[in-house]
Amino acid sequence: MTKEIQSDTYTPPPILSNSPKQDLKQGYEPLEGGCTLPNLINKLLKKPLSIVYELEMKNNVGKITCLLLLIATMSFSVFGIVVGTFSWDVQIWAAPLKIVFGLLFSGLICLPSLYIFTCMGGLDAKFSTVSGMLCALMALTGLLLIGFAPVVWLFSVSSTSTTFLGFLLIILWVICACFGLSLVFRSGHALGMANAGHFAVWGLIFLLVTLQMTTTLRPIIGSEEELFNFKEKKFFLTYWSDQVMEEQ
C-alpha cells in the first residue's frame, strides 16, 4: 500500500539541462518587484535578463529605457568624478562630462549596426528592445565601473603617472564592457538569435569606437592647456604610444 501511494505521488526530479543554450536563457522571466530605480539596479546585477523580458513584452519600455539611461549617466558621472580627482582643476567636471558624453555618443552611433547585426543573426526583436538592450549594456558597465571606482581613486591619489592610470582605466573599461557585451549576447540568445558571429563583430566595433573616443575627447586624465584637442587628429594606438614615449 505504502509503495502504491509512493508510486502514485512520485514525481520525477527536474531534469537538469546541460545545454549551454538553456543556461544562457536562465533568468529570462518576468521582472519581479516593479519598475523602480533601486529594483532595476538590483536586477541588472542579479537577473539582467528579466529586464530584457520586460522590454520584449512591451511592459514599461519607455520607463525602463529611461531608467537604464539614468543609471548609465549617473554611474559614468560618478566614475568620471573619481577619474577627475587625478588632476583636479577643470578635470573634476570636464572628465565626467567627457566620459558621459563620449560613451552615450558611442552607443548612439553603434545602435543602428547593433540592430541590423542582430537581425542578420536571426533575432526577431523590436528596435525598442534592441535599444533597451544597449541601454542595459551601458547601465551594467557603468555600475561595474562604480564598483571599480575606489580602486581607481586609490591609484589616482598615489600615482603621478598619467600613462599608468590611463592604462589601468582602459583595462577596467574593457573588463566592464565585456560584462555588458555578454549581457547583450545572452539577451540575443534568449530572444532566439541563431548566429552570434555577427554580434561578436559588432562587439569589437563597439569597443574600438569607445577606445577611439578616449583619443577624440582627450585629455580625459592629466591636465593640458586646452580642454579639447579637436585640431590634431590621431588614431588611439598612436596617441597612446606617443603618451608612453613622452613620459619616458
Binding site: I109, C110, S113, F117, C119, H198, Q212, K233, K234, F235
Partner: protein
C-alpha cells in the same frame, strides 16, 4: 506583412536581414507590388549615406560625388550583367529566369546596402577622426582609410551574399544548381563590378591628386591591369 513594402519600410528591411523566406517568396512570385522600387530605394539610401562618409575626408564636394557614385556602381553592374545572369542561371539548371534573377541580385545588394547604411554613423565618426589630406603622414592615413572602408564593404558584401546564397538554394530547382548559379553570378558581378568601379574612380583620392567627379582618363586601362602593375611593383618582377 503589408502588401506594399513602402508601407512599413523599417519592418521590411529588418525582415530582409533576418532572412524571412515568406517575404522573398512573395517578392519573387510577384504578389507584393513595389518590391523592386523598395530594393532600389534601400540601395540608394544605404550606399549614398555610406559613400558620403567615405568622401567626407576630402570635403563636402568629394562626399557628394562618392554618395552619387556608390549606388550607381551597383545599378550599372546589375544593368550590364542582367542578361548574362539570367542566361547563366537557366543554363545551370536552377530554373530562375530573368525577372527572378534580377530580383534576387537586387535583394542581395539591398541587404548589403542596409548593412552599409547601419555602419554609416561609425564610418562618419572614423572620418571625423582622420587628419585632413595634405597633412603629415597623408600616405599612411590614405592607406588606413582605404583599408578600413574596403574591409567594411567586403564584410557587408560577404554577409549579404551569404544570405543571398541561402535564398537562391531554397528557390532553385535543386540546392546544388542554386549554389552553382550563385557562384556564377558572384564571379560575373565581381568581374564587371570591379571594372565599373575603376572607371568611376576616384573615391579615396590618392595623395597629390585632385578632387574630381571622374578622372580625365576614366577609360584608360582596367582594374586588372592596375592590379597586375601593383603586383609587379611590389615583387619587382
Amino acid at each position: 506583412m503589408s502588401m506594399n513594402p513602402f508601407a512599413n519600410p523599417l519592418k521590411n528591411a529588418a525582415a530582409l536581414c533576418r532572412g524571412k523566406k515568406q517575404l522573398l517568396t512573395d517578392w519573387i512570385e510577384g504578389s507584393h507590388r513595389g518590391s523592386i522600387p523598395f530594393c532600389i530605394a534601400l540601395i540608394t539610401l544605404g550606399c549614398c549615406s555610406y559613400g558620403f562618409t567615405i568622401g567626407l575626408r576630402h570635403g563636402w564636394e568629394m562626399a557628394s560625388y562618392v554618395a552619387i557614385k556608390l549606388p550607381f556602381i551597383i545599378f550599372l553592374t546589375l544593368f550590364i550583367n542582367g542578361m548574362l545572369n539570367a542566361m547563366l542561371s537557366l543554363a545551370l539548371g536552377s530554373g530562375i529566369g530573368f525577372r527572378k534573377s534580377f530580383q534576387f541580385l537586387l535583394t542581395g545588394f539591398a541587404i548589403m546596402s542596409i548593412i552599409l547604411g547601419a555602419l554609416s554613423p561609425i564610418s562618419f565618426f572614423a572620418t571625423l577622426n582622420m587628419p585632413k589630406p595634405g597633412t603629415l603622414d597623408d600616405t599612411t592615413w590614405h592607406g588606413a582609410n582605404l583599408l578600413l572602408h574596403t574591409s567594411l564593404i567586403a564584410y557587408a558584401g560577404i554577409l549579404a551574399h551569404s544570405r543571398l546564397l541561402h535564398y537562391v538554394r531554397d528557390f532553385a530547382d535543386s540546392p546544388s544548381a542554386g549554389t552553382h548559379t550563385f557562384l556564377a553570378w558572384l564571379t560575373g558581378n565581381l568581374f564587371v563590378g570591379a571594372q565599373i568601379s575603376w572607371i568611376l574612380r576616384p573615391y579615396f583620392v590618392s595623395p597629390e591628386l585632385e578632387v574630381e567627379f571622374l578622372r580625365v582618363d576614366p577609360f584608360d586601362g582596367s582594374f586588372y591591369e592596375a592590379v597586375f602593375r601593383a603586383i609587379r611593383n611590389v615583387t619587382n618582377f
